[in-house]
């Protein structure tokens, strides 16, 4: 295919604004699939992907579209939708020349619409604004058009579509061909191909999604990863139409899949550049960043004998999830488990849920922690991704914590309560922009740990769910951080320790102690619950000793009832963790996350 007839583009949108259904409609209109075959949301359909032999999410589809006798190759590249995966999003965008910015006709512009738009602009993409779901009764095309105008689009350039009825799709395809530039690579230069996604397939090993920028790659070539210098033989190349088709080569401007008997997804880095071992490119495509976890938590199996199962589950997940990290960790309270690292909170939740659902292992996850930097008195720098690694206070000179720049998108009625929330969260106001008369974007700098704690829930509750937000890491700042321990009956429960800002330690400690008091049942003796920084107790509650736990009346010799009751009580104890002499229900370990004040 000549490059002039290739269009590489992606669809970017806020969650639920109809990205997947719009993609389906494009597939249908280009004849890649007919209506009969079309299952809803083709690009997301796991079943179909299984049939193709690819397990999940390899979503670059090559479509063929003929107009005025001229055949075009359209490569539609899917992007993950969430902020946790923004680096992956940015690599997908880097594989394109254009993007469709999809906005829901009823919801309008949202935080992720903007975040994705800025990412696309950073990658110098040509943007086609699309208002989707115009069939909705609540659609307000005028208003949404104005919003798009306010973020820099020409009203006349906006395409209105209904992925449901198919309205506007042909116009959209025409616009893609007319507006989005064709790739401008050089087939004769040394190979440069961008890896923008990868997944593990049990038969073929790692499959990479690549965009060839310059040169040609053929089956049988020996390729080299420019970041890791690893070399592999190209075993196969394919495209997805959306049926997988084997091909012999991919040349400049094209998008496809490459597999090369790569055993582990750890050997392939999204963002890396593939070149040929012979006649390699001089420099890699820029923009590569190794993925680093930003949030850590301990994961422990509720049943101690499931530790090995948990290890297996994490290993299996890691095959397809290069960003997940884990290493064994031991807690006095929870036994054997793993310290796991994630790209963000959503990533953490996804992994937790998959372990519980797909592998049937019940987990206790400890409070998530961000990665702190600690400067010791002797000048050494320590990376602290778990409260247990926090050095003793007397050795610490300075502490630093990661900050994010946060954009909150909200109807103007909630500005006041949002600013209050951000102040509460140690935020620094940057600026506020009016998108139109009704809606604003507020920018704040916030410590990441505050976002990890309960920011999202509070944001939603103080704006009745109307605000959306997005954030990006901006680096480390000095902060007065301390490790707060929780003691039960005088004994530190390691799994409950957290790192907090000194000014917030007292209130946080108080909340946790109060919550634990509600959760921990009375025992045969009084149980003091204390929050402490070092030796210094900052909050205390007491679980009073059990006073009455007795079955009085014996109804007409029916003693079976008593036995049943005791057995039930005994069963209940199985769901408790014994910490020293104190029996602690599992919910206690979640209480540290509790936000009720």
């Amino acid at each position: 295919m000549k490059q002039e007839n290739i269009r590489n583009f992606c669809i970017i949108a806020h969650i639920d604004h109809g990205k997947s259904t719009l993609a389906d409609r494009i597939l249908e209109r280009t004849g890649a699939i007919d209506k009969r075959e079309l299952k809803d949301q083709m690009l997301d359909s796991m079943d179909l992907e299984r049939e193709r032999g690819i397990t999940i999410k390899l979503n670059a589809v090559q479509l063929s579209y003929t107009r005025d006798g001229e055949t075009y190759q359209l490569n539609l590249i899917d992007t993950p939708g969430h902020v946790d995966f923004s680096y992956e999003v940015s690599r997908s965008l880097a594989a394109c020349e254009g993007a469709l910015l999809v906005v829901d006709a009823a919801q309008g512009v949202e935080a992720q619409t903007l975040a994705n738009l800025y990412l696309a602009l950073d990658n110098h993409l040509t943007i086609i604004p699309v208002i989707n779901k115009i069939d909705l009764p609540s659609a307000d095309i005028e208003k949404v058009s104005t919003e798009l105008e306010n973020i820099g689009f020409d009203r006349n350039d906006i395409i209105k579509t209904s992925a449901k009825t198919g309205e506007g799709i042909s116009e959209l395809l025409d616009r893609i061909i007319d507006v989005i530039p064709s790739p401008k690579g050089d087939q004769n230069k040394p190979l440069k191909a961008l890896i923008f996604d990868s997944l593990f397939d049990s038969y073929r090993g790692v499959i990479t999604s690549i965009r060839v920028v310059d040169g040609v790659v053929k089956v049988g070539d020996i390729i080299k990863m420019m970041e890791t210098n690893a070399t592999y033989d190209v075993v196969g190349l394919s495209i997805n139409t959306p049926k997988e088709e084997e091909i012999k080569e991919l040349s400049a401007g094209e998008v496809g899949y490459l597999y090369a008997s790569i055993k582990s997804i750890q050997d392939v880095h999204v963002g890396d550049t593939i070149t040929l071992e012979e006649n390699p490119a001089k420099e890699a495509l820029h923009g590569y960043k190794p993925m680093k976890p930003t949030v850590y938590c301990g994961m422990y199996p509720i049943e101690a004998n499931k530790f090995e199962d948990l290890r297996d589950a994490l290993n299996k997940l890691k095959l397809n999830d290069a960003a997940l990290t884990f290493e064994p960790e031991t807690s006095k309270a929870l036994g054997f488990g793993f310290r796991c690292g994630f790209l963000g909170l959503l990533h953490m939740e996804i992994v937790e849920e998959r372990i519980e659902r797909e592998f049937g292992i019940n987990l206790i996850a400890t409070s998530p922690s961000v990665v702190y930097e600690v400067l010791l008195n002797n000048g050494d720098k320590v990376i602290v991704d778990s409260p247990s690694k926090m050095p003793k206070r007397e050795f610490v000179s300075k502490t630093f914590e990661p900050y994010v720049k946060c954009s909150i998108f909200t109807p103007k009625d909630y500005i006041g309560s949002l600013m209050e929330l951000c102040q509460d969260k140690r935020g620094t106001f940057i600026n506020m922009e009016y998108l139109d008369t009704e809606r604003v974007t507020i920018h704040y700098e916030l410590p990441l740990s505050e976002i990890v704690y309960d920011f999202f829930d509070r944001l939603k509750s103080c704006t009745k769910g109307y605000a959306s937000f997005d954030y990006e890491l901006i680096g480390y700042k000095q902060s007065d951080l301390v490790k707060m321990d929780i003691l039960l009956n005088g004994e530190v429960v390691d799994a409950l320790s957290v790192i907090v800002h000194k000014d917030f330690a007292y209130s946080r400690g108080k909340i946790v102690c109060e919550k634990l008091k509600e959760i921990i049942p009375r025992q045969l003796f009084e149980v003091p619950i204390q929050a402490a920084i070092g030796m210094h107790v900052i909050a205390r509650e007491t679980v009073k000793a059990l006073r009455k736990d007795v079955l009085a009346k014996c109804y007409g010799g029916d003693v079976t009832r008593k036995k049943k009751l005791l057995e039930k009580q005994k069963e209940g104890k199985k769901r408790m963790k014994q910490i020293g002499s104190v029996e602690v229900p599992q919910e206690a370990f979640l209480s540290i996350l509790s936000t009720k004040e």
Binding site: R522, Q523, L524, K544, L546, R547, K548, D549, V550, L551, A552, K553, C554, Y555, G556, G557, D558, V559, T560, K562, K563, L565, L566, E567, Q569, K570, K573
Partner: protein
């Protein structure tokens, strides 16, 4: 060898708001057919053992009319009684009469258990009960005059709204009648009772415990022995019938909803009167050795004196510590050894469930 027998009379004129037991509103037309069924049950199960204790409980057995009561007692006279039988009937002040007392005496009843529960008008209303204190005195005096010398009062405490002073007044009244035996129950609000449905809340655990302590103190000062979690008696007047339960002895249970423990089987009769009349039993549980031992422990430790370890070993061929690891609990003071008895210390007996569960968890 079975030496005890319980007979259930489920009828009541009024339903108490806390009652979770098997009970029916008294209707004249039910009684004779019920007694027929009861007689049939006794005929089919009773093997002619000589009984040491016979207990007619309810419901309110004394709510039967004189004639119905006489018929019941006649049916029960088929049971062979030992010379020193403890023969108890439960009743309330409302329904007991001088005539009924004489009838009871004639048929050998020598122990009377009267549900006083509370003397406070407000609480009586809450419990949907009545109490004529003067009539109570007269009945007790009369019972004693005709030779019924063993009298028990039931007392309920920890009623919502009750305080220590209210409790003391109840105790004043009960003690003024010099009963041989007193059973005290902290009010339990069960789900399927009037109180439960009204979502009545219990008093605080602290106040409940305080009340329990003052009952123990007051009764001890007045010469009563605290021999079981909720039972007190003058020396020699411990309820032999209840001791049979706590010592894990076998017993017959006749009547609607009653329980038997016969030849290592725990049998619970149906609570449905129609099904009962058809002779249907609800549940039969054949006990494994493990079950038996568990019962032995959870029942025996209700007694302040505790479990006789020598008897235990005789019965189960191994010492108790062969089955359960109790050393640590003894060390921590939740159990104590006294001669050859293992017991829960008196100051811990009010949290005995928690301790029992700990023992059961330590099954070797």
């Amino acid at each position: 060898m079975i030496k005890s027998c319980y007979v259930h009379i489920p009828f009541c004129k009024k339903i108490c708001s806390y009652c979770d037991f098997c009970k029916l509103i008294y209707h004249k037309k039910f009684i004779n057919s019920y007694l027929d069924a009861l007689e049939k049950e006794i005929d089919s199960k009773y093997q002619g053992e000589v009984l040491d204790t016979l207990y007619i409980g309810g419901g309110t057995p004394t709510c039967l009319s004189y004639e119905e009561l006489e018929r019941l007692l006649k049916i029960l006279s088929k049971l062979k009684l030992s010379k020193d039988i403890e023969y108890t009937i439960e009743g309330n002040v409302d329904s007991i009469t001088i005539e009924k007392l004489e009838l009871l005496k004639t048929y050998g009843i020598n122990r009377l258990s009267i549900g006083v529960e509370t003397t406070n008008l407000r609480f009586l209303q809450l419990l949907n009960r009545t109490l004529d204190q003067e009539k109570c005195r007269t009945l007790v005096d009369y019972a004693r005059s005709i030779g019924i010398h063993n009298i028990n009062f039931d007392l309920i405490y920890a009623i919502p709204g009750e305080n220590i002073d209210d409790l003391e007044k109840d105790l004043d009244f009960i003690l003024s009648l010099f009963p041989e035996h007193i059973s005290t129950y902290s009010l339990i609000i069960e789900e399927n009772t009037i109180l439960g449905i009204k979502d009545t809340k219990n008093i605080s655990e602290e106040l409940d415990y305080e009340m329990y302590l003052s009952i123990c103190k007051r009764l001890k000062e007045n010469g009563y022995i605290h021999y079981e979690i909720s039972n007190f008696s003058k020396p020699g007047y411990e309820s032999k019938h209840n001791l049979c339960y706590w010592k894990n002895g076998e017993y017959y249970g006749f009547g609607l909803g009653s329980s038997s423990y016969i030849h290592k089987k725990r049998i619970t009769n149906t609570r449905s009167i129609t099904r009962y009349k058809e002779g249907i039993v609800l549940a039969e549980e054949e006990l494994s050795l493990d079950d038996e031992i568990e019962y032995e422990v959870i029942l025996g430790l209700r007694l302040l004196k505790g479990i006789d370890l020598r008897l235990f070993e005789e019965k189960y061929h191994h010492s108790l510590s062969y089955y359960y690891d109790v050393d640590q609990l003894i060390e921590e003071g939740y159990l104590q050894l006294n001669n050859h008895y293992l017991s829960i210390p008196e100051d811990k007996i009010y949290v005995s469930n928690e301790i029992l569960v700990k023992i059961l968890q330590n099954r070797k």
